[in-house]
Amino acid sequence: MKLIRRKFLFLGISTVSIGLITFYEWKYFSIKKIFSDEIEKFFYNFESILPNKITYNIDKEVYTLENKIISMLSTNGLSKTLNLINQKIKKEYQLGKITIIEGWILSETELKILILKSKYV
């Protein structure tokens, strides 16, 4: 009786895990397949002003922005997303939400985008 329960639990958990992993992997790859061109195009709009040799601390916020951009691209398309992100960058400059890296004075979002650009482009 005990053995059957263990087997049942093991098989059940394994099945659910494999299912979840497969689902998210499929979702990730399908999103990447659908939007990879769009994402590249998106990042092409930001000029690479930072030198490549610099290593940046890629923190959680960068990934959050990445997911946000992907989500915006899927919802709004390239042009609108670019417009919204550029507005956000301009607003940050206006409000003084800026950061200095290698002498460059950049908005916080702009820096994250340039970091992400090196990943995609």
Partner: protein, 512 residues
């Protein structure tokens, strides 16, 4: 009339109503204001009509501070003085510069902008420029630099443009412009080779009795007058006051030790940042004129919010190639490769040959000119060594850059970056030299000499009152940039002329 000290018998006593020591822009403007009176006026000039090396040597002094200031360059002992070296760049002070600022000790003037405005208008006429043009917004946006960053004139939040006019060479050399009038004047004597060697006070020290003058050939005389005006620049004015110490140990008008203190200049910090223009390179058609230029700075409100000094943000296109007198072979090859790599090269060539066109690149340089705050530690004292006339030389203690100047550079670049970013027209990168502090170690004072007999409400904080009269001496006045309470960022000559005209009016009213 033009005269020379040597024509008078030695030890002559010459009597006048007004004695003006110095014939630079201040002395000439003041004398010009008094042309139409019947007052008998002496204008004493240390040199001749043209500069002479042996008289120029009287300018030599010593430096004891951490920064070097050339005391003999940018000064001329001749009719017209330093005005003959002036490039003619004019702009008035801003209204808010006359106010006291809590974050700048000793800031504020005892006069307001409005008390100077009519004299700025009069000075503009003398210098062949237009006062109204300084505030004419229709002039904005037409120059090459503005067109390269044209949004800066339209939608800016943090930066404001300033119009600087250029007085042309027919007007800016006031000595040349009014030479005939002085030469033929019946009430004004310009006496050449008459260096003031001593201000002689009456025994109770409350007024000046005479000024002793001498040339380099042993001729000496005494000038007696009702009113005396020192107008020989921000280095010589305190020098003669401090060295006239027969009756007062600390010199004339120096009861509180303010004579010689608060020396200011306009340090220029080169290559502080590079600007990357986000719009594409293009050939720009623009007005070509040499009458005015537009310079940006952080606006007054933002400047006060950030507690920084006035400054000028001067942009210029980056040069692709180094400015060198000679190239070695590898440099020729390297620059040759760059030339062919550069896809805009052909565009540049085409643009170059089109009339009124200039090529606007993506990369620009940013230089900053700085106001200096009045500081007691930047001062001029007397050196133990003396010049050929027996006057103690100047001992200059100058420390050109303090923390507030450094903060001004860093914050103004940051603010410009915010403006360009908010408008979406560019990005800025601080240069390594600036971040490492190296940029601040370069001596480049632009040779403007300001302060040293500053105007103030009280003798406890300055050397002259709001009418440019030396505290404690009833008939001694000072004209020129030495009376400036603060240094601003604008070239001083225009304000020197305006203040001298104002002093001329005051003297007229008080003597006639």
């Amino acid at each position: 009339m033009f005269k020379d000290l040597k024509v008078y018998p030695s030890n002559s006593i010459l009597e006048y109503d007004i004695c003006i020591v110095g014939s630079g822009p201040a002395g000439i403007s003041l004398a010009k204001k008094l042309f139409d009176t019947n007052l008998k006026i002496a204008v004493l000039e240390s040199g001749g009509i043209e500069p002479e090396p042996e008289y120029q040597e009287l300018n030599i002094g010593e430096n004891s501070g951490p920064s070097y200031l050339s005391l003999d360059s940018s000064r001329l002992r001749c009719f017209g003085g330093a005005g003959k070296l002036w490039a003619g760049v004019c702009a008035p002070f801003k209204k808010d510069e006359f106010y006291k600022k809590a974050y700048i000790p000793l800031s504020g003037w005892p006069i307001s902008f409005s008390s100077l405005e009519s004299y700025y208008k009069e000075a503009a006429e003398m210098l062949g420029i237009s006062y109204e043009k300084f505030y004419d917004k229709s002039l904005l946006g037409n120059t090459f630099k503005e067109k390269s960053f044209n949004e800066l004139n339209k939608n800016n939040t943090f930066l404001s443009p300033n119009i600087f006019q250029i007085s042309n060479k027919n007007h800016r050399d006031l000595a040349e412009k009014y030479k005939n009038e002085f030469e033929t004047s019946r009430n004004i004597d310009v006496i050449f080779h008459s260096t003031a060697t001593e201000i002689n006070l009456i025994p109770n020290t409350k007024s000046v009795e005479s000024v002793s003058v001498a040339d380099l050939f042993g001729n000496k005389s005494t000038i007696k007058s009702k009113i005396f005006v020192l107008a020989c620049g921000a280095l010589e004015n305190p020098r003669i006051l401090l060295s006239s110490n027969k009756l007062l140990e600390n010199g004339v008008g120096n009861n509180y030790g303010f004579v010689g203190t608060c020396f200011m200049s306009h340090p220029g910090i080169k290559d502080v940042a590079e600007i990357y223009k986000t719009s594409s390179e293009k050939c720009i058609t623009h007005d070509i004129n040499n009458n005015y230029k537009v310079v940006f700075e952080v606006s007054s409100n933002e400047r006060n919010n950030q507690q920084i000094l006035r400054h000028s943000l001067s942009i210029s296109p980056q040069k692709n190639f180094k400015n060198k007198s000679s190239y070695n072979f590898s440099e020729v090859i390297s620059d040759g490769v760059k030339l062919f790599e550069n896809t805009s090269f052909l565009k540049k060539i085409v643009c170059h040959f089109q009339k009124n066109n200039t090529f606007s690149p993506k990369n620009w340089n940013l230089d900053i000119g700085l106001e200096q705050p009045p500081r007691l530690s930047n001062n001029l004292k007397l050196h133990f060594s003396k010049d050929r006339l027996g006057i103690p030389k100047i001992n200059m203690h100058w420390n050109d850059i303090s923390q507030i100047e450094k903060d001004t550079v860093l914050k103004s670049v940051r603010t410009m970056a915010r403006e360009l970013g908010a408008l979406g027209i560019g990005r800025i990168k601080y240069k390594k030299m600036l971040l490492s502090g190296q940029s601040f170690k370069i001596d480049d004072p632009i040779n403007h000499h300001i302060g040293t007999t500053r105007m103030s409400e009280s003798p406890k904080t300055g050397a002259v009152d709001k009418n440019c009269k030396v505290f404690g001496v009833s008939n001694l006045y000072i004209a020129g940039s030495s009376v400036f309470a603060t240094s601003s960022i604008v070239n001083p000559t225009y304000t020197i002329v305006a203040l001298s005209l104002r002093l001329g009016d005051y003297i007229k009213k008080s003597i006639l």
